[in-house]
């Protein structure tokens, strides 16, 4: 059975019967990181390291047929 569509006229009724069970803590101290000049982008050094790892994975393909495991 299709559930009844939400009726904006009954919003108050819905509010009374539907509630958020895990609300975010009201007194949490939130800071936008841009306000303190922080941007967590990955550095060039890290990207180079990642490229090296990926390049290693690609070399596997060219060497894969040289070995047989028995």
């Amino acid at each position: 059975m299709t559930p009844p569509a939400s009726d904006s006229n009954n919003a108050n009724t819905e509010t009374a019967i539907v509630k958020v069970l895990n609300p975010a803590p009201a007194n949490a101290r939130r800071i936008d990181m841009r306000e303190i000049g922080f941007k967590g982008s990955v550095s060039e050094t890290a990207l180079e390291q990642i490229e090296q790892t990926d390049a290693r994975a690609q070399r596997v393909v060219t060497t894969a047929t040289r070995f047989a495991f028995r």
């Binding site: 895990n22 800071i31 967590g40 994975a57 596997v60």
Partner: protein
Amino acid sequence: MILKGVELTPPGAQSLRQQIAGDKSNASVDALLAHVVELGATYAIVESPYTDRDYTSDYLNFYAGAFKAHARATKRVHFFRTDISKLFDLPLAEQVANLERLAGENKNYCGFVVVRPIAQGPIGRTVLRFPSIKKLTVRPAARADFQSHVLGVRVNVTGAPFIQQDMRLGACAQAAIWMAGRAVEARHRRTSSYTIAEITNLAINPTDSELSSSLPAGSEGLNPMHMIRALRGMGHQPLHMLFKDLDGGQLSSPTIKAPEVIHRYLDSGLPVVIAMADMGHAVCAVGYVEVPGKALREGGTHAVFARGLIVHDDQRGPYRILPLTENDIEHLPPERLMRGQQKILTVEDNVSHMFVPLPPRVFLRAENADIVVRDFIQTTGYAADQIAKAVGNGNSKAAAEIRSFFADVENKRWIQRTYLTTAARYRRHISLSKLDELMKSEIVPRALPHFIWVTELIDRSSKQDRRTGARQVVGHFVLNATSSTDYNNDILIAQFPHFVIHRDVNPVAENGDVLDDPAESMISFDEPGGYLGRTRTVV
């Protein structure tokens, strides 16, 4: 069906060995029997005949067509820690009731071995419990629950499945893939169950000149391409890694540290097929052993606490140990060490290839997740003063602890432990942990993809909580494991002492458009937020 009981006294064990391997030397059978005795097994029940699905598949695909007649049925041997022979003097109804009670008591059931009627490779599908090793902690990776039946009574064992190659349908490569695949199938239920014959069939199609040089095709070994093909055909996303440089076809010094790389996948609860090119041999790593105390060596990954890998080697037996380095050898039980030409093998010296059966939706590799986290900590450290001021908010203790944390980053005090898990398991662990309740309520409701990498930061001098427990975590990171080459969006949650950075990778502008740049926000807490990390223990 006939059940025969064998007391595992030295003569009894010898008689059982004779039933399994005949007069032939077989290192795997010897190692297997030594393992069950070490588990405390004192009594074996041999069930015959037993129809095993794996051997039936082998039989259909090869043995049924051979001119020489091969037996159709197998035997299955069950191992118990107590002598249950008297039970069989009782009426059948009482036998069942008593066996049900006994099997469940105090790890009484140690597991089972299917014995194939194949002289060159008698050990079929086998599941035995993980070992306990003195002064070390065994961390199972390819652990799954298996059920078998004795007299209609269901008995359970948790272990890593083992099988021997039969040298007709498959070689060590297929046996290692079978062991990895069966463990994933039994634990995660995301792939089907494949027999050795089916694995070979996946590996050899399409065929090539190398495969065609052996008859039946694939019976004399597989190369890495064939192994990748088989794993893919089985529904895994194979991750292949080469640990050694090639110089004119010869292997020279390692460039990526195999112990660190392999350890992360094992710590994710995944089996890892590892291969040794210099020996032409493949095995399946099913866990690792770690020390209860502080780090053993230099390095920034969790492998600094590990001594060796626990390995199923179809030619040397179940639960062998492959030391990480030469320095680890003397601290490990000599009878379980893997030897090749009288030399003890190590991960650092001998392992050349790795194959990980990853879930199909994981696109971020562990090595890259680790690099991204290390970089993020570094970047955050550049803003440590501003963060300390913002978090401090009048709390000088919190500010001092944040500065101290980043000073210790420079001192290389923190170890990164990176493992793959699901959002559900992560949330469960965090919810049950001793993490500050406010931090929990900030972290647990965050939207996460199904698969995530978690990196725990651990003090390199920390010890296990009680014996075999986890180590204290000072901070942790959650990364999107389903992301690929989008490293600026990989980290979703970063929990440092006293603050959590949350990254919204799908920020929405006021006009409703989804923005490209992620939005990062910080929430500060009075408590630092330490807790015990995830742990896997032998059951």
